[in-house]
Amino acid sequence: MNSNDFINSYINAKIISTMKRIYLDNASTTPIDEKVLSTMLSYLKETAGNPSSLHYEGRLAKGAIERSRTKIAEIIGAKSNEIIFTSGGTESDSLAILGIARANQKNGKHIIVSCIEHKAILNSCKKLEKEGFEITYLDVDNDGLISLEQLKSSIKPATTLVSIMYANNEIGTVQPIKQIAKIIKDSKISAPIFHSDACQAAGSLLIDINKLGVDALTISSSKIYGPKGVGCLYITDKNQIEPITFGGDQENHIRPGTENVEAIVGLAEALSISENKRQAENQRLQKIRDYFLSKILKNINNVSINGGVNNRLPNNINVSIRGVEGESLVLLLDNKGVACSTGSACSSADLSPSHVLMQIGTPLELAHCSVRFTLGRHTQIKDIDDTISILTECVKKIRSMSSIK
């Protein structure tokens, strides 16, 4: 593709994007916050140094990283040296699972995770299984919650790591992290490290590591109105972790590579803004979400809710609309200006339906009909009213040509 083709397709895209867009896929990624963007830009304009260099330009870059690190550490109640910068949530999760398991294997080779973790956790576990580790996948109930009893009885002397996601990206289920931490801490059988994937939780839920009782935590910038391609892993400085990539000595050798300075600056700013807005946003979003859900149930029949109504992120709706396949609905909605996502098999690269929906017991045919709306900072009530009328129209169109009546 030459630069003319690139420009032409960008112009075409702009034409389409001039229609009113209602973005309800914030769990996939969030638009960048204006303040975050301006902070990153002003940083970018000022310096171009490599943070590992000895000279002034390098020191400016290094200073920006360290100030960001301190800012993030303060927000979550950690020490600066306990924050490792990565390329995002997936890398932080992989680093947590592989790095912690391998570094502590002299104490045992048993890991406990929930069966609805993000693929970054689950596929890292699959890799560990090939290395001779034993993994226990905790079941979840129809609401998506793990059983604390099952967790307790799964801990054995060889258990070195427990990883349970704070809030689930598909159905929004919030696990009782404090209670989980207590069970782990009180265990006389073993002293595993407790990691939690907080990619969806940050910005909505408390992420003070002391109050939560976690030993490690993953945060992703792209979910909190920061730039894509950056995240961090918190891990207490008394715990061992090994690198999963190799190179120089950045991030204490745990995550070498020239740092994405401007993105790190953006992550810190984004987390700070999210934390400040958290309480007010939660209340606002919950009201809008509940209004949206009641309208869906009122206007469209044969709709079921996926996941529990309580213990759920305030911005998350995940429903199955009978007879309406997920990908076809998402594409029709997109054509009318609404962005959302689906757990249908047809929309995934490997043609398997959402593992989360499968684990909470959603019947296959309803999994194919699932659609997820995740509200965000820019979502207003008017957007919901517009979405409801568009959604009703699209459902009617698909149902009229559906083989399932």
């Binding site: 490997d350 339906p353 296959l364």
Partner: protein, 234 residues
């Protein structure tokens, strides 16, 4: 929708190559399982959530057991291959019409890897009553070790002068006389082994990519679309 379900019990497993396993099943209830060679069944191993898959039957109706020859590609095929002997499974089928009709023209079968399965069943079946028309199978694999049913195919060709099997390898160069070609199937190769292109029916079976490539190749050779029959495995 049809509801042709029958229960079977897994009685035998055979490793055909390093990643292909033949599973042989006995129908429960005594009666033989009726199917036409080239047909497939839908099965779902117990250990998976999602919907099962379709597998072509590689045995023939007069065999005592019904065999599915499966390549390890997905979690479904892995679950199938890991099914313990003695387990029961429900077959939904048989379905499909991927077989030469009774008024047989000469036939060219283009097979890629696991795509040999329907052809194996078809030629064994025809061989029972004698192969009267010319059947040429051009069978493509990566290496010699990947050739499925190698010995059985060799025996069938030595017993049936009307049957020819051309073996080609795409990732191994060899002077082994049993291998005929060391490259992908192309129009030159098809032309070389099928000098009488008219009055021939073409059957293609293999992966989506293989079937697509062969389809486009035959069209480049101006073969009529009505004379081409395809079955892609996915």
């Amino acid at each position: 929708m049809q509801n042709n379900k029958r229960e079977f019990v897994l009685v035998d497993k055979k490793h055909e190559t390093s990643n292909v396993v033949s599973l042989s099943f006995k129908p429960i209830g005594g009666l033989n399982y009726n199917f036409t060679p080239g047909q497939y069944v839908n099965v779902k191993p117990a250990s998976i959530f999602e919907h099962g898959k379709s597998y072509t039957i590689s045995s023939i109706p007069t065999d005592e057991l019904v065999t599915l020859t499966i390549k390890k590609v997905s979690n479904v095929s892995l679950a199938m291959i890991d099914t313990p002997i003695g387990s029961t499974m429900v077959f939904d089928g048989p379905y499909g019409s991927f077989y030469p009709d009774k008024t047989m023209n000469d036939v060219i079968m283009l097979a890629g890897g696991i795509g040999i399965t329907p052809f194996f069943s078809v030629i064994r079946n025809i061989a029972e009553s004698g192969i009267n028309t010319k059947i040429t199978i051009i069978y493509s694999n990566k290496t010699k070790k990947d050739i499925i049913f190698f010995n059985s195919l060799a025996k069938l060709t030595s017993d049936n002068p009307n049957l020819k099997v051309i073996s080609c390898l795409t990732q191994e160069k060899t002077t082994d006389p049993v291998i005929n070609e060391s490259r992908r199937i192309d129009k030159t190769m098809i032309g070389k082994y099928t000098p009488h292109l008219s009055e021939v029916d073409y059957y293609i079976c293999g992966s989506i990519g293989f079937v697509g490539d062969m389809w486009r190749t035959l069209k480049l050779m101006h073969i009529e679309e009505d004379k081409i029959f395809t079955e892609a495995f996915y």
